[in-house]
Amino acid sequence: MYSEKVMEHFTQPRNVGEIENADGVGEVGNAKCGDIMRMYLKIDGDVITDVKFKTFGCGSAIASSSMATELIKGKTLKEAMELTNKAVADALDGLPPVKMHCSVLAEQAIKSALVDYSKKSGVKIEGLEDVDFDDEHLHDLPENEEE
């Protein structure tokens, strides 16, 4: 059901943990739906120097968190802003359709941490104001044939 990449990131997730005195922390999802992601960012100037995550969720939620942290570590804020859920899913060699929301959650977790950083530091980050954190639509399942 999952690609080898997903399984690899699930069994050996990168960047698990917390950052003390993180510059930005974001949490998205909720326990009721079965997935929560929390991201911690360490930011130096324009660059994300460290990133860690904690995730409650299924295999693909954990793998998506892990991959997302890999993709933004050492990158600029602008590059992090440009990370899409599709890029996370692609880097994992794809996710099953019902699990795509996990990659959306990963993208949102990063943006949510950036919002926190922006608030704390006063640094404006372009594009942040347009982010929609509503996760109602996250769980849209593929069309059911009946009804």
Binding site: Y2, M7, F10, T11, P13, V16, E18, E27, A31, K32, C33, G34, D35, I36, M37, R38, K54, T55, F56, G57, C58, G59, A61, I62, V98, K99, H139, L141
Partner: protein, 392 residues
């Protein structure tokens, strides 16, 4: 351990060698259509007859009260739709429970669309139907009570005999989905006042896609599958002879060895439950502590999600199942876990390990060991866990 440890016997079981042996001649050697007149087909006829006898004996029924079907789902559909349509002039109300298998629930939902009225009884924290509530739900127009014998997820065994008494007292027909119970529990349809009973062969070391419906003699019921005159005009279609032979043999074997098998399974079950409770904090045993299927173990592990647990177990060769949303393909965790009062976030972290005859104490100990490490690892990753650890 490099071999797989299979602990998902409530999902399905392997076909026993003795069962397979009995089935094999009916594929290429005695392949005659039992409805034909020549000698070859009499072999098939006799084989079905013997299987019917074996199944009947297993549940204390008469031979002519057993009708073979294409599995448990068909038996459930037939029992409920067949009774509903035939007794419509008498009434249109059906009583069932919230923790039934989807084969029953979705059938009832379908009937609601056809104008039937359905009461879905709540269950208590152990998954037990409350007898007072059941009796209070019976109305003038109630035609059927359908309550499962034992639950497939949490293993809870219902007070079937008492339910049968209530049904009889109010002259309402009583159907029970006994797919998880046949071959695991002693059943006597007369003593328990059961009018219709569904069973499926693949849960008791028989083949998949074949099962039976017991219908008490004299019960009026519409057929579900129309066509030829097979199964005394009640279930059309050329018989799955090999499957039926396998069903009969599987039931016979299960009941010949029931006490011995159950002693073994219950010992393993208790070892597994105790092992988990002793080694892993923040767990909850789901289902009734005693009134549960011999091989059923179902736990919720707080702060983690069931699918991640299953994947991790699979990596170390252990096959189990979960009621988490991520494994059901829907948004909500299992309706059974929600019905026993679990909040969504707890229900997401469920694990069912259903034991079978080939499991051993070593396997149970290995699973407890692996599970301890896995749960720990997943909790270390969980933002819910550190909130607890941090005392927030």
């Amino acid at each position: 351990m490099d071999k797989m440890i299979y602990m998902d016997h409530s999902a399905t079981t392997p076909v026993k060698k003795e069962v397979l042996q009995e089935m094999l001649p009916y594929f290429s050697e005695f392949y005659g259509n039992p409805s034909s007149v020549y000698q070859l087909s009499s072999k098939s006829k006799l084989a079905i007859d013997k299987a019917r006898e074996q199944v009947a004996k297993g549940i204390g029924a008469k031979k002519n009260e057993i009708y073979f079907t294409g599995g448990g789902s068909e038996a459930d559909n037939w029992a409920i739709k067949g009774i509903a349509y035939r007794h419509r002039e008498k009434g249109n109300h059906i009583i069932t429970s919230k923790i039934e298998h989807h084969a029953v629930l979705h059938t009832c939902e379908y009937l609601q669309k056809q104008g039937f009225e359905v009461t879905y009884l709540d269950v208590d924290e152990y998954g037990m139907v409350r007898l007072e509530e059941l009796e209070a739900a019976i109305k003038e127009n109630t035609i059927l009570i359908s309550i499962m014998f034992a639950n497939n997820e949490i293993g809870t065994i219902q007070p079937i005999k008492e339910i049968g008494q209530i049904a009889r007292k109010h002259k309402v027909l009583f159907h029970t989905d006994a797919v998880q119970a046949v071959g695991s529990l002693r059943i006597d349809v007369n003593e328990m006042n059961i009018d219709l009973l569904s069973m499926s062969a693949h849960k008791l070391y028989g083949p998949k896609g074949v099962g039976a419906l017991y219908i008490r003699q004299g019960t009026r019921i519409d057929p579900l599958i129309a066509g030829g005159a097979q199964e005394r005009n009640k279930r059309a279609g050329t018989e799955n002879i090999a499957g039926i032979v396998g069903t009969g043999k599987a039931v016979e074997l299960a009941y010949d060895n029931l006490e011995e098998n159950n002693r073994k399974l219950i010992a393993l079950r208790e070892r597994l439950i105790k092992g988990i409770q002793d080694k892993i904090p923040h767990v909850r045993l789901n289902g009734h502590p005693e009134k549960r299927l011999p091989g059923n173990v179902n736990f919720c592990f707080q702060f983690i999600e069931g699918e991640a647990l299953l994947l991790s177990l699979d990596m170390v060769g252990v096959a189990g199942s979960s009621g988490s949303a991520c494994t059901s393909g829907s948004l909500d965790p299992s309706h059974v876990l929600l019905s026993i009062g679990l909040p969504h976030e707890i229900a997401h972290g469920s694990l069912r390990l259903s034991l079978g005859l080939a499991n051993t104490e070593e396997e149970v100990d290995y699973v407890v060991d692996q599970l301890t490490g896995i749960v720990d690892r997943l909790r270390m990753m969980s933002p819910l866990y550190d909130k607890i650890q941090g005392g927030i």
